[in-house]
């Protein structure tokens, strides 16, 4: 079962949440971030080239212009490969674990998998960031030595930054699975 809904992130950009229910114990949530806008790209390129042209008129060295083109290209490639995240996915499988994948604009994917034995709970936290109050979904990890303590807090959807309505949807689905998992697990 698959469905798609449109939400907005904390800056007002448009996000698309795709939910896939593969089975009662396996669900996937996929958040698509807004794409790289042509306006900002053009603005940055023009700024860099104007600065280079200004330096060129000062020093009359054509290497400056070639260097500016090179820097722009490398900067764009680096941005697409290391910074711009296109899609963030959360896959939750009962009795196996939770997997978070970030896909970058250049196609690179970075994945983290947390085993279910380490997961204590999934919660929505409230944070004050400068002048904003934002909500974020995070996974609480158990301490292997002391199961009642929380050893780590792993935030989810860090670059998409959806608003509370989107988070509540994801939270409810995750809690259903975690409740079932807690009922059937052997460890306390």
């Amino acid at each position: 079962m698959e469905d798609e809904r449109s939400f907005s992130d904390i800056c007002g950009g448009r996000l698309v949440l795709q939910r896939r229910y593969y089975s009662p114990f396996c669900r996937e949530f996929c958040l698509t971030c807004p794409r790289l806008s042509l306006c900002s790209l053009t603005a940055v390129t023009c700024t860099v080239w104007l600065a280079a042209y200004g330096l060129f008129t000062l020093w009359e060295n054509s290497m400056i212009l070639s260097a500016a083109i090179f820097i722009t290209l490398l900067g764009l490639l680096g941005y697409l490969h290391f910074v711009k995240i296109d899609q963030e996915t959360l896959l939750i499988i009962d009795s196996l674990g939770i997997q978070m994948t970030s896909s970058y604009a250049s196609g690179k994917e970075s994945t983290t998998f947390i085993e279910m034995g380490n997961v204590k709970d999934v919660v929505i936290n409230e944070a004050i960031y400068m002048q904003k109050v934002i909500y974020y979904l995070c996974i609480l990890l158990k301490d292997p030595v002391e199961p009642h303590k929380i050893s780590q807090v792993v935030p989810v959807f860090q670059s998409a930054k959806p608003r509370l309505d989107c988070l509540i949807e994801v939270y409810r689905s995750c809690q259903e699975i975690l409740a079932h998992q807690k009922a059937t697990s052997t460890s306390p």
Binding site: F25, C26, L91, S95, L96, T112, N118, T184
Partner: protein
């Protein structure tokens, strides 16, 4: 058959299964009751309601029908399938083989269930034969994996005999199929390495073991993978090596040759270490010189590395093996770069050019220093110095420079020969050549070091004198016993002389401070240059190139974890996942496998450095092993 009779007794119970099991027309299909609600576990191997995970190797997906052999982990309700046993077989021999593997590897290998590849089976009756095997090899739960004919879909069931709902009625759990690449999981190493408890203590695994159990199981069952399908053994298995055992001629040759080569090199290296530890080297002033020269330190470091690499002991753990490999690759790269440098130096008479340029450069430096001193003896930057002290200090330093220049000119005929022989040492490695360069710089700027020491000592004395006399001026003194400042009543004579001396020192302070400042800056410049060279040497010493190369070419060997991908899913069919290895990021590789460096790092923080500079204490930019003498 046994299973059919049980099916007939349980007719009419529970919801129908979405899986259609083909069977003879007169048999009643087994109904599937819904999984019992979560409750207390019954028996030691039952987790009610938990989804059963079956780890299936991708190489067996196209194998013929047969029995599934692997390990059952009850705490996580997961079955790790290691191989498929094909027909025909004799059950006794299969049990013997499994007992053998269990004894050798301490892994609880057993027959887990049946595998049926319907696309390759011409008849349907084989299915019933497989069902009967459940009585011969009893296992709780009994897995039945099946690949359907004419479609890409799979079906899997896990049947349990012990059931709480009604005795004698088999129940089925939900099964999740997880495919894994057996070869990659066998060869990979999880980071951080999880230490699993000893299996002799009874197969008990910590609940946080999780996927580490799968890796451990596959890695320990190597005995099961030794035979391939062309063997004449009693049992025909299908696993990742069943197409033919992996081996390479070069690998075997290297393994055979490494024994005697290691022995020979270990003897040579022990001879060299014995010579270097000889009592002759302990005669003064040789240990003093050895502690100052970074070349000796670097050579000793490399000797240690080589001894470790060529030691005749096998590596105990994968980490040790990686460390040995990293050291070997580092040494080889070092020597290769050194040989390149050597060939560059000895081509087109570069050594001669270097030697010809060296004496004029030293002369030029000395001349610049003389100009600097003349400037200081005048009115530097418009400041007015105390003429007498200025002249004394200036002449003292000028005389030193004159001595140094004469020494350099004395050495000049031999410089080319010395450089030529020193250049040969580059064949020992680029790091050795760089250490020698650093030592040559230290020797050539020895006079700057001497000036710095003189200036610092004078300044330090002055500062201590000033602080003590300042306390006297205020009527206090330093209590050595209590380590604090106490008030004290002085005589009139003491106060008079003290104040006089204080005034003299205060007025002479600018002169001394200026000389100290100038020579400290020069010294810091030399130290920076030497520090950069040492940084480069450290980089070559400690970078784990073999690990980085492994991460680049065989990323599955260094695993940070796993990742899952959901395969094509149809409603009513079991969930299928593909488990892949998530490789370690490059930064973690460097961090985990860094080789220990010489340890020659500056131990000061910026604050303590500034404090030492202000008070005129001598700064030693790095400490070698064994403290540097004053």
């Amino acid at each position: 058959m046994g299973l059919v009779s049980r099916g007939a007794a349980a007719a009419g119970l529970g919801a129908a299964s979405a899986v259609v099991r083909p069977g003879p027309p007169d048999a009643v299909p087994n109904p599937v009751p819904s999984p019992p609600p979560g409750g207390a576990a019954r028996g030691s191997s039952r987790v009610p309601g938990m989804v059963l995970k079956a780890f299936f190797p991708t190489c067996c997906a196209s194998a013929d029908s047969g029995l599934l052999v692997g390990r059952w982990v009850p705490e996580q309700s997961s079955a790790v399938v290691l191989a498929v046993v094909h027909f025909p077989f004799i059950p006794i021999q299969v049990k013997e083989l499994l007992a053998q593997v269990q004894q050798a590897s301490q892994v609880g290998v057993a027959v887990l269930g049946t595998w049926c590849h319907r696309q390759q089976e011409p008849e349907e009756s084989l299915g019933h034969f497989l069902e009967g095997l459940g009585t011969i090899f009893s296992h709780e739960p009994w897995l039945q994996l099946c690949r359907e004919r004419g479609s890409k879909s799979w079906s899997c069931k896990a049947i349990r005999q012990q059931v709480p709902v009604a005795p004698g009625v088999p129940s089925e759990d939900q099964v999740m199929l997880i495919f894994y690449d057996q070869r990659k999981v066998l060869l990979s190493q999880l980071h951080p390495p999880t230490v699993l408890p000893d299996h002799q203590a009874g197969d008990a695994v910590a609940s946080s073991g999780g996927l580490a159990v799968v890796f451990d199981t596959v890695a320990r069952s190597e005995l099961l993978f030794h035979g391939d399908q062309y063997d004449e053994g009693p049992v025909r298995l299908s696993h990742w090596q069943s197409e033919g055992v992996e081996a390479s001629v070069l690998g075997e040759l290297v393994k055979r040759a490494s024994g005697p080569v290691c022995l020979l090199l270990a003897c040579l290296l022990s001879l060299v270490s014995a010579v270097s530890a000889c009592w002759l080297w302990k005669l003064w002033p040789l240990p003093f010189i050895r502690s100052k020269l970074s070349t000796c330190e670097q050579l000793r470091h490399r000797l240690e590395h080589l001894t470790l690499v060529f030691s005749t002991q096998r590596a105990q753990s994968p980490t040790q093996l990686m460390r040995k490999a990293n050291m070997l690759v580092s040494v080889l790269l070092d020597v290769a770069l050194g040989l390149m440098l050597l060939s560059w130096l000895h081509s087109s008479n570069r050594i001669g050019q270097l030697a010809d340029a060296l004496v004029p450069v030293a002369d030029h430096v000395a001349e610049e220093l003389q100009h600097l001193l003349q400037w200081l003896m005048g009115a530097p930057a418009g400041l007015k110095m105390n003429r007498a002290l200025d002249q004394v200090l200036g002449r003292f330093f000028l005389y030193h420079i004159h001595l140094w220049i004469s020494y350099i000119h004395l050495m000049s005929p031999f410089i080319e020969r010395i450089l030529w022989h020193v250049g040969l040492s580059a064949c020992l490695g680029l790091t050795v050549a760089l250490s020698i360069l650093s030592d040559i710089i230290a020797l050539l700027t020895f006079h700057i070091y001497c000036f710095y020491v003189y200036g610092a000592r004078l300044y330090c004395l002055k500062i201590y004198g000033l602080s003590s006399l300042w306390r006297l001026f205020r009527g206090k003194k330093w209590n050595v016993l209590r380590q604090r400042v106490d008030s004290c009543s002085y005589n009139l004579d003491q106060l008079f002389i003290g104040t006089l001396l204080f005034t003299i020192l205060v007025f002479l302070l600018p002169t001394t401070a200026l000389y100290y400042l100038v020579f400290t800056l020069l010294r810091l410049l030399v130290v920076t240059v030497q520090g950069l060279i040492h940084l480069l040497v450290d980089l070559i010493n400690s970078l784990p190139l073999y690990s980085l190369g492994l991460r680049l070419c065989r990323p599955y060997r260094l695993a940070a974890g796993v990742k899952f991908r959901v395969l094509e899913h149809e409603a009513g069919r079991p969930l299928r996942l593909l488990m892949q290895i998530n490789p370690l990021p490059y930064s973690h590789v460097v961090h985990t496998y860094r080789l220990p460096s010489c340890g020659c790092h500056p131990k000061h923080s910026w604050g303590s450095l500034c404090r030492k500079l202000f008070f005129g204490e001598l700064i030693y930019p790095w400490r070698q092993r064994g403290d540097r003498q004053d």
